[in-house]
Symmetry: C2
Subunit: 335 residues, 2 copies
């Protein structure tokens, strides 16, 4: 609790390319007290997500931060002082806390952590926004149907692993693409995908041709870049659906590179959806009902890459941006 | 009638780049007689369409032609001898006749020319497959709504001009993009678009920013290439829809060039539809009912680029492939 200091991870300079640990610095301010209509929350587990890089480039609707600003970040937090009518001391919530020990909130964009029998940290991963992303996209626009083939990039991450696991629950084939043999092994063995390719060592075109000879009915893209180009130009099935959900490969680039040629989309009558999970809050209750039951039934596995201590956040974020994380990237801040 | 010879435009060699007149040669065979269950039709007006180039590259489901084959082509034709139960001498039909004077058909992929008060040649243009393409895409997947802004490339063509005119009929703003001042003037003055830009002389980015400051709700792309890249990365509205209908810019290329970066599609929650009109036959009756009425009410204008004589087809096709046609490219073969 650091002697009444609210420790904070501050932006030191806006990163050029992949963010490094020294683009950030630790700071602090007095622990704030809630005024009427607000509550104070103690950050328990902080989530590090690729979209934070997009925020730092001003490419996110949150707007670009300035040097000295507290870094953005979602967390699981515990209400520890409240003058808000709907939150009481001890309530555990998910909120945009920023990377700091304490935050004051008026309750906007806050919801209770609801993970059933799963650990509360999953409220930031497979039972949180990443899980909802996979669920809402597959059951909403992509209209997943039994017997289909689903290809997903960044398949061992919180979003990707849920895409494949929901595909399996729905009676589909799940093929993942990841960046290491460890990730591939976990995705096949633990998460139960039918196959998971290593983009660094597998011949993706040859393997996809073999594993999905009629093409992907659904391609769930978390990465952009070469994988996006390969799947969208050569491995789509007739009447396929593509979910454009993330662009990990280009969050660190100053200029947007070209994308895939779109000719194959005509030939395959493909529908491509630009997908933003914030538009699918109306599916959250249904998602949680399903996902908590699936977890209780042992059908949902998850992998976390967690460090301890707020001060580890900058290095942990840089690791994520290098793609060296394995599973949902988290920082444990307090118990 | 050339002394009982069925004149034909044959493939001489498969073109490299933009087809030239001498990639084709004239040939002939005896005029065939229909056997039981078939009819013979006399080609009246032959349609030249960009998709024919894709056929010649083997990029179309028809399969690539071989040297000596009769060139493909749709036409308005008149039944002049029939042993088919459903067609009688004198019936005027639209069919895949190939580029020749006479063809024998079993009635597959044939339908009666139905143009109401409009000239029969429009059965190949604004009241035919190109018109259905515009109609089915806008009223089907694009779900056009009153008050929206529609941007369309190749706007003076049969598809493009119908996209804008249907947009106007539906209470929308129509912005076209074409390749010459003549085309731009016709598209604004005759076809009634709100504006039509010349891609060769206008600063498209600046003009689109001015004309569609909130972006295009619907982008109907007939061209691919730079226009596709510009509109899809910088001029889409929130919740926009993109119809990928044609790729004129790349039919002549050996290799597919890269496409636009797809990042903006996420931001704008855009849905992109790979659109093939053959999937929308079920909308044809409704289209013809609407389009014939609109024509009779003076709401549909069309522009034809017609030469006379089957032997003009190769040069006319080459002109189309150079983008030097102005309006629906046709060859009048017989009266």
């Amino acid at each position: 609790m650091s002697d009444n200091i609210n420790r904070q991870v501050l932006v030191k300079k806006l990163p050029n390319g992949i963010p490094a640990e020294d683009d950030f610095e630790m700071g602090g301010s007095p622990i704030p007290d809630p005024v009427e209509g607000t509550f104070r929350a103690r950050t328990l587990v902080l989530s590090l997500d690729p979209y934070i890089r997009a925020v730092m480039s001003g490419r996110h609707f949150y707007g670009a931060p300035q040097p000295g600003d507290v870094m953005r970040g979602r967390s699981v937090a515990r209400v520890d002082a409240s003058r808000h009518p709907q939150y009481r001391e001890g309530d555990v919530v998910v909120m945009e806390s920023g990377m700091q020990d304490y935050v004051i909130s008026n309750g906007g964009d806050v919801h209770r952590a609801d993970t059933g029998t799963a650990p509360v940290s999953t409220a930031l991963g497979v039972l949180g926004m990443p899980g909802l992303t996979a669920y809402a996209a597959l059951l909403g626009p992509a209209q997943i149907k039994e017997g289909e083939t689903v290809v997903v990039s960044a398949a061992s991450g919180a979003v990707g692993s849920m895409v494949g696991q929901i595909a399996k629950i729905k009676g589909c084939r799940a093929i993942g693409i990841v960046g290491s043999d460890d990730k591939s092994a976990w995705t096949e063995t633990e998460a139960g995908f039918d196959a998971c390719l290593n983009r660094k060592t597998d011949d993706l075109h040859a393997r996809l041709t073999e594993l999905a000879s009629d093409g992907a009915d659904i391609f769930f893209d978390n990465t952009g870049g070469e994988i996006q180009g390969l799947v969208m130009t050569k491995h789509l099935a007739l009447n396929s659906r593509v979910i454009l959900s993330g662009l990990i490969t280009q969050y660190n680039l100053a200029e947007s590179p070209p994308g895939p040629n779109l000719g194959n989309l005509c030939k395959m009558r493909t529908t491509v959806f630009g997908f933003v999970v914030y538009d699918f809050e109306h599916m959250r209750a249904r998602f949680l009902t399903d996902a908590k039951r699936w977890y209780a039934e042992g059908k949902i596995k998850f992998k976390e890459d967690m460090t301890e201590g707020l001060e580890t956040a900058p290095a942990q974020f840089s690791k994520l941006m290098h793609g060296n994380n394995f599973g949902k990237t988290l920082v444990k801040v307090a118990d």
